[in-house]
Each structure stands twice: as structure tokens, then as C-alpha cells.
């Protein structure tokens, strides 16, 4: 197939599917309804390091995890979740909460929507981790 046909077909096809998915309401991000869900989401990534404490943020979009030895974060990846340890993380306050920069090419930046009180608590936790 000539590139002059293939290229527009691919670009238009991808754009149409993405717009359609968004219009169908399929861009909604996952939420963590309770601490049990946050705990399960953490264990899904780190089954051998169980949380001893879970701090769910007010809007239920992320959770701060404490295990026996380390701290970590669970956050939504689209309709699903993922998790990382916070070792080496740098936090910066933003208008809507916190931005975490992790030394991890597969999860370089996490944007957390937090209340001002929560921001302070998370920053304290991160200081302990660093």
C-alpha cells in the first residue's frame, strides 16, 4: 500500500478511535474506594511486601503506603493502577497538590491531587523516606 494512502489512514484511524473512546466516557481514571482497595492495588505490584499502614488521599485517587521497611505510592494508570517505592523521590508542591519525580524511567512523574493539609503530610512522609 502506498505511503500516501497508509499514512493518512493510520493517523485518521487512530484519531477517530481516540476521540470515540473519550466521547464514550472511557477516559475516566481509576479511583481507590477504600484502604482495602489501595492495599490490594499495592499487593498486586509488591506481593511480598505487605502494607502496615495505608493513607488514602481525600479524593481517593492515590494512597501513601508504609511497609515494614519502606514507603511507596499507589496511583491510577488510566482505568487501572500501579505502584512504586518512593526511595529517591523528589516532591514539588503544585497548584493542585504534589508532583513526585521518581528515579524510574517507567514512572518518572506522578501528579497527585491533594488538599493543602495532605500535601504537608505527604511531604513529611517523603522526607522520612529520602
Amino acid at each position: 500500500m502506498p505511503l500516501s494512502i497508509l499514512l493518512p489512514m493510520v493517523v485518521v484511524g487512530i484519531a477517530c478511535i481516540a476521540v470515540l473512546l473519550h466521547l464514550l466516557g472511557l477516559s475516566r481514571r481509576a479511583t481507590l474506594p477504600d484502604t482495602a482497595a489501595a492495599r490490594a492495588a499495592w499487593l498486586r505490584e509488591f506481593p511480598a511486601d505487605a502494607p502496615i499502614h495505608v493513607t488514602l488521599c481525600d479524593n481517593r485517587s492515590a494512597a501513601l503506603i508504609a511497609t515494614e521497611t519502606r514507603r511507596g505510592v499507589v496511583w491510577p494508570m488510566g482505568a487501572d493502577t500501579t505502584a512504586r517505592y518512593l526511595t529517591g523521590a523528589r516532591a514539588r508542591r503544585t497548584k493542585t497538590g504534589l508532583r513526585l519525580n521518581l528515579p524510574d524511567y517507567t514512572a518518572p512523574q506522578i501528579h497527585l491531587a491533594l488538599d493543602p493539609d495532605e500535601v504537608a503530610a505527604w511531604q513529611d512522609a517523603l522526607k522520612e523516606t529520602a
Binding site: M1, L3, L6, M9, V10, V11, G13, I14, I17, A18, L20, L21, H22, L24, L26, S27, R44, E45, P47, A48, W75, M77, G78, A79, D80, T81, T82, R84, L102, D104, Y105, T106, A107, P108, I110
Partner: protein, 312 residues
């Protein structure tokens, strides 16, 4: 010996079919409220990875094709292009696919290219298109060398390889449960391939087949989909980004960082490139074998069940 290839680039020709089938599956899921999940950013990443795969084929395809033409020109054999020869080539190329795919999960250098195909936590027809941009750098084209040397024309080998990829498109779906028993016994199906995409300890490193599931049954890597162990899709450690560049290159970056860290022997540096994913010089990480062993230690009642052979 002819250098003229009468075989079309079937994967490019199938692009309209891919788009139509994705729309049909999406419609089915939305109307029926079952049969899989879609999410905008995940699907967009998968589709961009697919487009990038086609682009990398256009830019780098000459490397593999040039290699094949060198082999073709030194081979004294030419089996022609009859239907029987094409059918035989298709079957043998599917055996080739099985081994390349198995290497892709057991050799980190090859996994670095293949990992992006497993990086979605969804399993729908867009996942099928989440393909590598870096396949050329795995040098797995050498596994096709015997076919060329046996007298299968390079154009034919690439043609049947394209048909193989097109076959695998439709099996990336949750909308189809199980096919008829005879079909499940011989062919790769949505059920068998869902298992391959599972991150459950039971489902790690199995069902490598492209078209014929018989290869897994022959070589002892077949695991059936079990009702009691619902497939959890994605990577053992799921990505925290939808950025296609990071999806495409993350494992290569990781290999580079591991192999260049100070204090290692040259043997350890090499092992970071070629040992199974999860290998580390200090044992601080887990391979799929270690993950299965840990799971069995916690759930010994699963010993001897599919995916957990007794001799592991």
C-alpha cells in the same frame, strides 16, 4: 534463482481490517457491557506503538531483507512458489515464531524489544497492535535463516510471517470465550493467548504459539486458562507511564543501566543482557521461576497444577 517477489505486504493491507475490527469490538463491549475493557490513553498508546512498528519496518526492514537476500543468493536450493510450498513455509515459519517468541521471554536482550507488547493492563484488539519498534536490534532474523537456506524465497517467508501476525490479531480479545474443542486443541485462540498475557504466577512464560498451539504442547510450555485463576493482564511490575517512547525503550535503558553499573565483572554485565528478565548479580530481583517458587511457598496446594509443574 529469481529475486522477484510476487508477495504483497499483507500487514499493511490489513490496516483497514484492524481499524474496522477494533471499532466492532468496542461497539460490542459498549452495547453488551461485557467482553473486555477499553481506556482512551491505553488504547492510544497501543495504536501509536502499532504505527511506530510499521514505521520502523519501513525504516529498518532493509536490514533483515538484505540479510535474507544474501542467504538466498548463496543457497543452492529454490523450492518455488507453489501453494504446497507456501503452506509448508507457513507451518515452519510458525515453528520459527514459537522459538523467537520463547527467546523473547527468556532472553532479556530480546525481551527488551518484546516487553512493550505486554505492557498494557488491558487485553483488547488494540493490544495486538502494541508492537515493538526495536525488533531489528534483537537480531532474531537469524532464526529465519534456515528457511531461506532451505529454499524458501525471502519474500515468501516475510509473506507468511505477515499472515501469522494477522492471525494473531483476532486472538487479543476478551469478547470471545472459548472456540470449539477441536479448534482449541490445534490452534492458538483468545483463551490460550489471554493466558500468555497474564501476570499471574501460574501464567508466566507459557503459550508462546503464534498460530498453532501444538508447539506449546510439544515443547511443554502449554498452560490452559483456568476459571479459578482469572487472568490479570500486564507486566509483573506495571508501567507508570503511557509515553510511547518510554514504553518502547524502557527495558533497553534498564539493561544499559544494569550492565554499566560499577563493580561488576564482565561476565555479570553480559548476564544482565542475556539472562532471563529479573536476573540480577546479587539475587535482589525475581525471575519468573523465582516468582512461581515464592507463590508455591505461599500456596503449596497449587503444586502440580497447570503452570506449576512438580519439577520446578
Amino acid at each position: 534463482m529469481t529475486d522477484i517477489t510476487p508477495f504483497p505486504d499483507v500487514v499493511n493491507l490489513a490496516v483497514p481490517l484492524f481499524i474496522a475490527a477494533i471499532l466492532a469490538e468496542l461497539l460490542w463491549i459498549v452495547i453488551k457491557g461485557r467482553g473486555g475493557r477499553y481506556e482512551t490513553r491505553d488504547a492510544l498508546t497501543s495504536l501509536i506503538m502499532g504505527a511506530g512498528n510499521v514505521a520502523s519496518g519501513i525504516l529498518l526492514g532493509f536490514v533483515a531483507y538484505g540479510f535474507f537476500m544474501v542467504l538466498w543468493n548463496i543457497s543452492p536450493l529454490d523450492l518455488g512458489t507453489s501453494i504446497g510450498v507456501i503452506a509448508l513455509c507457513f507451518v515452519l515459519d510458525d515453528l520459527r515464531y514459537y522459538w523467537v517468541h520463547r527467546f523473547g521471554h527468556r532472553i532479556r536482550w530480546v525481551w527488551a524489544s518484546h516487553v512493550n507488547h505486554h505492557s498494557s493492563q488491558h487485553y483488547n484488539l488494540t493490544t495486538a497492535l502494541r508492537q515493538t519498534w526495536t525488533g531489528t536490534f534483537t537480531f532474531m532474523m537469524v532464526v529465519r535463516a534456515p528457511l531461506i537456506l532451505l529454499g524458501f524465497h525471502p519474500g515468501m517467508v516475510l509473506f507468511v510471517g505477515g499472515l501469522n501476525l494477522i492471525y494473531q490479531f483476532w486472538i487479543h480479545t476478551e469478547a470471545i470465550g472459548r472456540m470449539p474443542r477441536w479448534f482449541e486443541a490445534v490452534m492458538n485462540t483468545p483463551s490460550h493467548h489471554r493466558v500468555h498475557h497474564g501476570r499471574n504466577p501460574r501464567y508466566l512464560d507459557c503459550n508462546y504459539a503464534g498460530v498453532f498451539i501444538i508447539w506449546d504442547k510439544m515443547f511443554g510450555t502449554f498452560v490452559p486458562e483456568l476459571e479459578e485463576d482469572k487472568v490479570d493482564f500486564g507486566l509483573v511490575r506495571n508501567l507508570g507511564t503511557f509515553n510511547p517512547i518510554r514504553v518502547a525503550f524502557h527495558e533497553w535503558i534498564s539493561i544499559f543501566r544494569d550492565a554499566t553499573q560499577p563493580g561488576l565483572t564482565w561476565r555479570e554485565r553480559l548476564k544482565y543482557c542475556v539472562m532471563p528478565p529479573g536476573w540480577s548479580h546479587d539475587g535482589s530481583r525475581e525471575t519468573s521461576t523465582a516468582i512461581k517458587a515464592r507463590f508455591l511457598a505461599d500456596h503449596p496446594e497449587n503444586t502440580g497444577t497447570p503452570g506449576f509443574p512438580l519439577n520446578r
